[in-house]
Assembly symmetry: C2
Homo-oligomer: 407 residues x 2
C-alpha cells in the first residue's frame, strides 16, 4: 500500500537538475526589452566614442596660431549649437562660438571658455582672455576606440549597459531567451481567489506565490492554471504545456496518497529524476522529464512550495537563462538563536538574517517551521539548513544559509 | 553674460526635494498587480486559518472512544479526499479514510497514519495500529485567529504577502499608487536609436538609461520623449505632461549656455527650488515646480544623469511610493585605493564595492570620473563621495557610499 522511494539529498537534487539542462537558445531582441537578460555575443564599438572632437565647454574655438599673446580679439564666423556643425576649416583670426557637446571645427585646437570672453563694440568680434592650459576638447576615441570591447558575452544587461548600447546606436542584441514557465496547481481542494469558498476547500495561494517569484526572477509566465485531482486531465494538460513551455512547475499531488496523481504521472508517464528528497519541508518534491520538458513538481504545502522554489527552481531558472550565479546567494552564517528540534531529514528553515558589525551573517528562524504554514513567507529573507542527525543548532554555531532575492 | 547661481550641497538638495512631497494617493488594486507596492491599510484575518480542522496526514480518522486497545478494527464509512467533506458526526466503531489537508469529520479526535493501517479481508473494514501520541489534526485557527493582523499598513508587498492575502481570499488591497513618471530628453544633438546619425549628433542614451532605472525602481513610465533645444516647444510639452505625470525627469539644457532652455524655464516659468548643487558630476541639476508638478532636471551628461538619478530622483520615488527607505542604501565605507584629485565641489564617483571579511564595505572608483563618460555605468555598483576641500581620499580612509539597487 505504501510505496518505498529512494531518497537523495537536496544538494543531490540540485545537482541532478543542473546536469539535466543547459541555457535556452539565443534570440535577437530590441534593447528596450533586454533588461536582466544575458548577452550571448561580445559587443564591439562600431565607431569611436566620441566619434567627433567634442567641446567640453560653452565657449569659443580658436586655432593654434591664435593661441598666444592674450587678450586676443577674433572674428566670430559662426555659432555651433549642440548637434550642428561648422563645416569649413577654422582659419587664424577666426573663432566659432561653440556649445558644450558640439563638434569642434577642423583646425581648432582649443576651446576658450565663455567665462574668459569679453564682448566688444563690434558684434562680429569677441575678445578672449586665456588662463587655461587644457584644450577643453575631448578627442575622437577618448572613451572608446572603434573595435573596443564594450560588453562581453555572458554580461547580464543592466540599465548602464543598455544605455551604452544605445549610445552606439545598437538597437538589437543576441541574448539568451527568457524561460517560458508554466505553473500548474493541482488539487480538488483549490479555489481561485475571487470565488466563494465551499466548506473543506482552500484558496489557491501557491499560484500567486509562484507567479510573483517567477516575475522577481525575470522568467516569463507562460501559463498559470489550476486543476482538480484527476489523473487523465492532469496528464493531458501537462502534455499540452510541454509543447510550448520551457519548464513546468506544479504544486500538489506528489505525496504517496490515493489522489497524488503527479506522483503517478512521474512514475508511469515520465522519466523520473527523483521523487524523495531528504529535506523538510518538501520531501516528496519530484523532478521529471515529460515529453522533453522538465517538470519540477513541488509539494502543495505553502512552506514547501516557497522553499522548493528557492532551493530547486531558482537554480534551474538561472541555468536556463545562462546565468552562472543564482540570485539566491549561499553563505556560511551563524545561528543567532537555538533551534533544538531533532529531525531525521535535513531541515530548511525560513529565517531572517542580519549582517553583524564584524561581517558575519547572523540568521534565525522566523515563524513556524511547519510545511503548511504560510504566515511567515513574507517575513523570510533567508533559508537556513539544520542538518539531520543532530539535535539542531545552537547560538553561534555555523550554519549554511541562502539569502533570498525578493525584489 | 554669465549668470551667478546660489549653490547648495547634494544633501540639501535631497532635503529640499523630500520636504516638497509626500506619498501619492491610495488606490484599490488587484493583488495580482501589487508586487512591491506599499500597503496603506492594515489587513486582518477575515476567518481563522485553518478555518476547518485539517488532517495533517493521509490516514484514518477515529473517535476518542476508539482511541485505545490497539490494534482496533473499524468500519470505513467514507473516503474524504482533499476539498471534500464528511458531513455526519463520526461514531464510535466508525472510521473515515481521509487525505492530507482534508477536513476532519466532527467527533474525530485523531488521524491514524496510513502507514499504521492494515487491510482486512472485509473491504469495508480496516485494522489500525497506533504508535503515535499526537492527533495529527491542525486545529481551527492554529496559524491565525479570526481578526489577527496579517499585514500592517506600510508593508511593502512581496511574493509571500501576496500569497498570504490570496489564502484568505483577499483579492484587492489599498496601496499607494505607483508614480507616473515622464522622461523628457532635451537636446538638438539627440538622435533616437534605430535612426541614422548625422555628423555632430549623438544617440540618446539617457532615455533608455532612465527608462530602465525607473523600471528597476517600480515606477510607471508615463512618457519617454525627446525634444530639440527650443524654449517654446519644451515649455509647451512640459505643461502638457504636468497635467498627467506625478514627476517629470528631464535631461539636458540645465547649464548656463545660450541653448540651455530648461534652465530658462526653471527661472522664468516655474517655481525654482535649486539650480546649482555643489557636486560633480551634475552641478547644474535643477529642481522646480511647474504647474504643481515636480520636475527634476538632470544634466545631459550620462555620468551626471546616472548619479543624479540615484542621489536625487530615487529618494523622491521612494517618498512618492510611501517607502520609508530608499532602495539605494547609504553606508560608511572604506577606500580600497587612493583617489587624489583635488576638487572645489563634492565629487560623487562611480565605484564598486565588496564586503571585507571583517564586515567593512571596501569601495573604489570604477572607470572614468568624467561627467560625459558612460563606459562605466554598467560596472557601477556604488557611488562614493569625495568631499571638496581635500586632496581626495586615501586607502583605508572612511568614505560615504551609496550601494545601488540595480535589479
Amino acid at each position: 500500500m505504501i510505496e518505498k522511494r529512494n531518497t537523495i539529498s537536496m544538494e543531490q537534487a540540485r545537482e541532478i537538475l543542473r546536469n539535466q539542462i543547459t541555457h535556452l537558445p539565443v534570440e535577437k531582441i530590441n534593447i528596450g526589452k533586454a533588461l536582466n537578460q544575458v548577452l550571448q555575443e561580445p559587443i564591439f564599438a562600431p565607431f569611436p566614442a566620441p566619434y567627433f572632437r567634442r567641446s567640453g565647454y560653452d565657449g569659443f574655438a580658436i586655432t593654434e596660431t591664435d593661441d598666444e599673446n592674450y587678450p586676443i580679439t577674433l572674428r566670430v564666423v559662426a555659432e555651433v549649437p549642440c548637434g550642428e556643425t561648422y563645416d569649413k576649416p577654422l582659419m587664424p583670426g577666426e573663432t566659432v562660438r561653440i556649445m558644450t557637446g558640439a563638434k569642434v571645427p577642423e583646425n581648432a585646437s582649443k576651446i576658450i571658455m565663455l567665462e574668459q570672453s569679453k564682448e566688444t563694440n563690434n558684434k562680429k568680434e569677441i575678445t578672449l582672455i586665456n588662463t587655461q592650459k587644457t584644450s577643453n576638447i575631448t578627442e575622437v576615441g577618448a572613451e572608446f576606440a572603434q573595435g573596443d570591447l564594450l560588453l562581453d558575452r555572458g554580461h547580464i544587461l543592466n540599465a548602464g549597459s543598455i544605455s551604452l548600447l544605445a549610445s552606439f546606436g545598437i538597437n538589437e542584441v543576441q541574448v539568451i531567451k527568457r524561460p517560458k514557465v508554466a505553473i500548474l496547481s493541482t488539487g480538488s481542494e483549490l479555489v481561485s481567489v475571487g470565488n466563494l469558498l465551499p466548506d473543506g476547500k482552500i484558496y489557491n495561494s501557491n499560484q500567486p506565490l509562484l507567479e510573483n517569484l517567477l516575475q522577481i526572477h525575470h522568467a516569463e509566465i507562460h501559463a498559470a492554471e489550476q486543476l482538480p485531482d484527476n489523473y487523465l486531465e492532469t496528464k493531458k494538460r501537462l502534455m499540452e504545456l510541454t509543447e510550448t513551455a520551457d519548464l513546468i512547475i506544479t504544486t500538489g499531488g506528489v505525496s504517496v496518497g490515493d489522489f497524488d496523481f503527479m506522483a503517478d504521472i512521474a512514475k508511469d508517464e515520465a522519466e523520473l529524476l527523483f521523487n524523495k528528497i531528504q529535506m523538510r519541508p518538501g520531501s516528496p518534491t519530484t523532478g521529471m522529464w515529460l515529453n522533453n520538458t522538465l517538470i519540477i513538481a513541488l509539494s502543495g504545502n505553502p512552506g514547501a512550495c516557497f522553499t522548493g522554489f528557492y532551493l530547486l527552481v531558482e537554480p534551474v531558472l538561472a541555468t536556463l537563462m545562462g546565468k552562472d550565479q543564482t540570485a539566491t546567494k549561499q553563505v556560511q552564517a551563524k545561528m543567532a538563536t537555538d533551534y533544538t528540534k531533532n529531525n531525521g531529514y535535513d531541515r530548511f528553515l525560513r529565517g531572517t538574517y542580519q549582517l553583524s558589525e564584524t561581517g558575519e551573517f547572523l540568521v534565525e528562524p522566523v515563524g513556524s517551521d511547519m510545511s503548511s504554514a504560510l504566515g511567515n513567507l513574507h517575513l523570510t529573507t533567508c533559508l537556513l539548513k539544520i542538518p539531520r542527525g543532530k539535535v539542531g543548532k545552537f547560538t553561534g554555531e555555523e550554519v549554511e544559509a541562502w539569502l533570498l532575492s525578493s525584489k
